[in-house]
Assembly symmetry: C2
Homo-oligomer: 144 residues x 2
DNA sequence: TATCATATTAGATATAATCTAAATTATTGA
DNA sequence: TCAATAATTTAGATTATATCTAATATGATA
């Protein structure tokens, strides 16, 4: 992962490249996953410098506001965050809550009557079901 | 709204038709909206008998589990609940968090390679942008 | 370097949701 | 009917998630 690229994307969005903010962004870009704030907080604190919980939340909020990170809400669970990269849809596991990417493909727009006077910014597909890990364990009740 | 129909749908799902549970279900069916647990709690308590917060949450969870109600997660806000009726997609307002229905239309499935060994249960479109109320107020920062 | 805006921090607070254990209500079956 | 059992409700405590506060530190710039 190119540290300069991360610095440039932060500064290009008007955000200072502080060690704590860099650590959050680098973690999200390296892990190509969807992590909760708690996971990110723990991860960035495995390396120096230490970052407080408030700073982790502040930085996540700033990164979302700057459009570099996306906040994915999951029913009954903590929000998950991902670096915005290639466009994609989402798969959410009913059983363990894991969020995974599904290759992007265009979706037909709704009839303009359905949209009315709303201002449409984006559209995303959410697929639900059981992830690869949970599918075989279907019968079981507990989440591993 | 037909009280007997509500009773039948509860009992058909193996749930007793208690006054508190009925009140939650009736509220969700009458209001064709997407309400937070707090709103539902307040609404069912405007009529007798009074229901506790825990009961409201318990009943919402049971209704979701029974497939009569849907839990819609919204980034940065409390979950919203809706009675499952006609199939539809969702529009979520970036500014005020309001969830609205968008007329259903079929969505092309992803390439089977993108799904892999996952078990697909359902697929929904999420549209984002500004709702009719918020669109004209775009420049303003505060939520009414 | 002095100034000033931005960022970080620990800990308090707020909000959303669940848990606990006791009491209540409904259902079943003798 | 009535005892036994199961489901439901309850107030209040607790947990989980997220934000706020006010003091301090840091970085940018003139």
């Amino acid at each position: 992962m190119d540290a300069e690229a991360i610095r440039r994307s932060l500064e290009g969005s008007g955000l200072r490249c502080t060690p704590q903010r860099y650590a959050v962004m680098a973690f999200l870009m390296e892990q190509n996953r969807h992590s909760t704030a708690a996971e990110i907080f723990e991860a960035v604190n495995r390396v120096d410098p230490r970052s407080s919980r408030a700073t982790t939340y502040n930085n996540l909020r700033d990164l979302v506001k700057a459009g570099l990170v996306r906040d994915v809400a999951v029913e009954g669970r903590a929000a998950r965050f991902e670096a915005k990269g290639m466009r994609h849809h989402h798969f959410i596991c009913d059983r363990c809550g894991k969020v995974e990417d599904i290759e992007w493909y265009d979706v037909p727009r709704p009839a303009s009557g359905s949209i009315g006077k709303r201002v449409l910014r984006e559209c995303e597909l959410i697929f639900r079901g059981l992830c690869t890990k949970c599918a075989p364990a279907r019968a079981s009740r507990k989440v591993s």
